[in-house]
């Protein structure tokens, strides 16, 4: 009992402990090694950290619910790019020309709708054909990326709208727009997963699909809703990011799926489904961004970030296995 509680506590709190260790390490190491005399835990620096976490973070929140459901989505990077193109291109369409700045909300809605539709297509294929989500989204990762390239070849799609840029760069209560969207997405998805029937059922399906079916839960629609949610969030991430930058390259968002999965796994969500927490994923996202910033702060090459994150990911997996009692039994077989 006591050891069970201890391991639960370690797993729940691990990511926040890790963030604390990072903060202490980089603050102390920064004093010795950093070239700038600014402290690492500077308020501006931390606010920027939240803002920079937003693009991957919003996607990782969606990836968490997909993985709790026992699925995976490799196509989010391509959905991200496609939604960005819809956003920037639709503002220049002649039918919107007379609307002035009213074209902005319409472009947002179109981009988000594109994300939902692409996600729904993934979910529908998984539901109706019964193909593993890994294969379905591996395929659509190629397919959606193909659509991105077909749209505008290898040229960047650009449209800078200053009203939009002002909105994206605004700060409210000290936090940037992107940060508010990240916090909002985290809260809404947390609410859905912990306070609604859909959330309960999604956990149940991921935990034991047979039992969920026997309990009368309709597996298909719940999976499809989750794929629509992650499509929406991937598009939201694009909308927030490209409102500010105003230009999208056709291979933007490549490898985002892998970064998002890394953040989710660091947060302690299992690939097998049935368990995981939105808040811990939020921690995982912060931990990765902190690591990037911290390594830069102490003067390490940016190249080492990849190396360190890869090794940490494997170490987390190993520690999780050691802490997990059920896992230990499997080791003996």
């Amino acid at each position: 009992m006591a050891s069970g509680m201890l391991s639960t506590f370690l797993k729940r709190g691990a990511i926040w402990g890790f963030i604390l260790v990072e903060l202490i390490f980089f603050s102390i190491a920064g004093e010795q090694l950093s070239l700038s005399d600014k402290a690492f835990m500077d308020l501006d620096n931390m606010l920027l950290l939240f803002k920079q976490s937003a693009p991957i973070g919003i996607i990782a929140i969606g990836m968490t619910i997909i993985m709790i459901n026992g699925n995976i989505d490799l196509s989010v990077g391509a959905i991200f790019a496609l939604a960005a193109i819809v956003l920037l291109d639709s503002m220049t369409w002649p039918i919107f020309a007379g609307l002035g700045d009213w074209a902005i909300p319409l472009a947002w809605i179109l981009a988000l709708l594109a994300g939902v539709l692409l996600g729904a297509l993934n979910g529908f294929i998984v539901w109706k054909t019964g193909i593993d989500a890994f294969i379905v989204t591996l395929g659509s990762m190629l397919g959606y990326r193909g659509l991105v390239f077909i749209y505008n070849g290898e040229n960047p799609t650009s449209h800078l709208n200053w009203t939009l840029v002002d909105f994206a760069e605004a700060q409210w209560l000290g936090l940037h727009t992107a940060t508010w969207f990240l916090l909002g997405a985290t809260f809404v998805i947390w609410f859905i997963m912990n306070r609604t029937v859909h959330g309960r059922n999604a956990y149940a399906i991921g935990n034991n699909r047979e039992a969920a079916v026997n309990a009368g839960i309709r597996v298909g629609p719940h999976m499809m809703i989750n794929f629509m949610l992650i499509g929406f969030l991937a598009a939201l991430s694009a909308v927030v990011f490209y409102s500010e930058s105003g230009s999208v390259n056709p291979n933007d968002g490549e490898l985002y799926e892998l970064w998002a999965i890394t953040a989710v796994v660091l947060g302690g969500t299992k690939l097998t489904g049935g368990s995981g927490s939105i808040i811990s994923t939020f921690g995982g996202v912060l931990a990765i961004q902190l690591l990037r910033k911290g390594l830069g702060h102490i003067g390490a090459d940016t190249e080492t970030v990849n190396l360190v994150i890869g090794l940490i990911l494997i170490a987390v997996l190993f520690l999780d296995r050691q802490l997990n009692i059920k896992g230990k039994e499997e080791l003996r077989v």
Partner: protein, 324 residues
Amino acid sequence: MPKITKASLGRFLAKQGILIAFILFMVGFTLANERFLAPENVMGVIRSSAILGVMALGVTFVVISGNLDLSVGSMMSFSTIVVLDLHDKLGPTLAIPAMFAMTLCLGAIIGFLVGYLKLNSLIVTLGMLSAIHGLTLTYSGGKNMDIADKEGTWFSVFGQGELLGVPVPILLFVGLAAFLGIVLSKTPFGRKIYAVGGNGVAATFSGIRRPRVVLGCYLVSAFCVATAGLLQASRSLGSQNTVGQGLELEVLAAVILGGASLLGGSGTIFKTVIGVLILGFIQNGLLLVGLQFYAQYVVTWVIIILAVWLDIAAKRGKLLSPIA
């Protein structure tokens, strides 16, 4: 002669579906453009598929053993960069074995983590994807790698040479495929891979040392990746750090297209080669009929879904899944 029923037709389609699809594609493209089946075109397609193909051979081993390997792309970048760098420092004769040794070490690390520590292969190789990418960048200092004397080296023979009129990459691809095909289907090691992938617990109880088999599969994969890196380096004699980026998923697509199940226990080298060729010929055929390059991605997507759907629909005897 056995009677043809709906069920047996379904089974036949499922078993040979990918081959039939391949033949249909070839016929369709040939009708659309007569240059499609010209020897130089066919040779060109196989040659440009060789690097992806060699990597797919190794990944087939890993997938049959019931695991995944997402690190092959960044590992290929690593071996390409290493062999180019060592070429000028040690000379080609020493650089090639040194590069193979280093790549096999990476494969051994993955094999140890997945086989002996029993960690989830998807996450381990995802971590290694990132870690090896970092390793490559640290090794090269983020700079592109080039061979100083591009004219005076015999190193280019692997990627650009010809033997009896056949390009060397094709010979290497076909030779390696034949060798690994025999290993997989005719040796005890090969049978053990199918056993471990089909039912790991049963294989352990029948005395197969599962960790060792898994390690072996990742070593085969690393060897194939090193060969692909050699081909890439020798073809271009210079390279970026990200040359293999994204290849891991294309390789996996070829293996799945060939009919290997991600659950493990099924798949063959021959079918993987067909999968690789389908990807290559679709790309080429779509270009020849005048579609733009990127249309192949969309077509590949549709084909992967249809191929896998057909496969599992025939196995369960129903077109739509029983998911409520």
